[in-house]
Symmetry: C2
Subunit: 308 residues, 2 copies
Amino acid sequence: MSAKTPHPSRRRPPAFDLPQFLETRTATVNAALDRFLPCTTMKPKTIHKAMRYSLFAGGKRMRPALVLAAAAACGGRESDALPLACAVECIHTYSLVHDDLPAMDNDDYRRGKLTNHKVFGEGIAILAGDALLTQAFELAAQCKGWQRYSHRQIILEIARASGSLQLIAGQVADLEGEGKKTSAAQLKYIHERKTSALLCCSARLGGMSANCSAAQLKALTDFGYHVGLAFQVIDDILDVTQTSEQLGKTAGKDTQAQKATYPSIVGLEKSRKIATDLTNKAFAALKVFKGRAVALEALAEFLLKRDR
Amino acid sequence: MSAKTPHPSRRRPPAFDLPQFLETRTATVNAALDRFLPCTTMKPKTIHKAMRYSLFAGGKRMRPALVLAAAAACGGRESDALPLACAVECIHTYSLVHDDLPAMDNDDYRRGKLTNHKVFGEGIAILAGDALLTQAFELAAQCKGWQRYSHRQIILEIARASGSLQLIAGQVADLEGEGKKTSAAQLKYIHERKTSALLCCSARLGGMSANCSAAQLKALTDFGYHVGLAFQVIDDILDVTQTSEQLGKTAGKDTQAQKATYPSIVGLEKSRKIATDLTNKAFAALKVFKGRAVALEALAEFLLKRDR
């Protein structure tokens, strides 16, 4: 590469249209989820209605977009990545359904709609979460398979990111931290697990579905980790600065629940700086793709600048 | 086979010692679960304590025993079946932890001990169930693999038996049936899913870990299905006839919750007859093993005659 060539991770073709990418991929993922999930006419209808209610409640499909964008960066086919994109969305949705329960965050609204247990009752909401988690593994196992990465590796990847040392660990630490003084290090521990783990897993799964190299997988891991942390810092900022209407969920919940957030520990301006630094680290990880990770770059920038 | 040879499925060597089989296999499974599960010193300690609390609360390890007995009938090695035996026990335990929650069966005691949410609170109990379910898939994926059956098939087997059309369907139908008039056909639908599905899956996984033939897999499916139904009919009978002390859990719960049971629909004597008939069908399925399914036979008979 000549010294005059701009740094590849900084060069973004002006033609890349993220809104269009998100719109088309959301439609693709929604259609696939609709195809993969049991329909509401199958017995017991309630559980399938409850699963679909939360799955189709207007989620931004950021994790599936990350899977598909990572697959594209590695030159993979979308059809090979799609079932994994759906699997991570099932995991994400299950975690929200359980997180919203009265015994956890006790949220009545999510994305501007009543939460699962407010519509179907707590018992069904617990079971719908269980079913979505189980469905994720069924989806991953149903895939036709990939060249370099086995079903075994893919399932392990999902199980570890979602398990008691990662996603669930984050939920537990979050639950236990309420009303207690939390250090910045503890908050980072929570964010790494509650948010980063599954975003990192999403980026890795996309790469794995495209038979990525070890170097690419390492890059996607770094990218996902930093984007994940940035994502959560911004979530904390939005909880303080936006109204419930803007967010589509109850704003100020973290403050009310005396939950530690970046703004409450380091202040708003420092939090914004942290989010920007994390996003820059995510960009830097993409060097290895030599300009082919345009969708990932655009996604990271979008997540940094989002207002809900 | 000469006409004078006794039917193989009826011939049981007097030497087979089921109590000893159950004792040694329970010890083996407990040791393996202890090895496989994150220990209680790992962060967050609460979730690992909660997972282990219910996992080591004195369960009878019937499903792992079924996995190991089925593997033995097919001439497999115990070490190949053990991780799957642990996986089904994790699934079973998760389903009990969630089933005991106030939003579901609202049980304070299980196997003579306080239920998970009574000790750790509802939030942690929900997360401990989630973590055990996730752990089951991690365990199955961690296996070194089998000759005839892929990780993909094994994961699909577990996911389908535990999913919204089987295990979870049974829980939903059970929850929705409370206080309503239930027909014998509806009750069978619930039992097939709530109990039979995972017992059937256990027998099949044991066979699969031993590279069983298609005929053996079919036999194990029939066996598991009928033993599973018999198991649940007997559970219903014991709920009516035994005291809480004898059962180690609240007796008469089904009657209190106006849940349909076999005794409440067809009476006690007819229920006993149904359980015996189902067990005989289970025995008949074992013909194909030509006398090598001694442990499975003994297990089926033990489950029929159990008093708790």
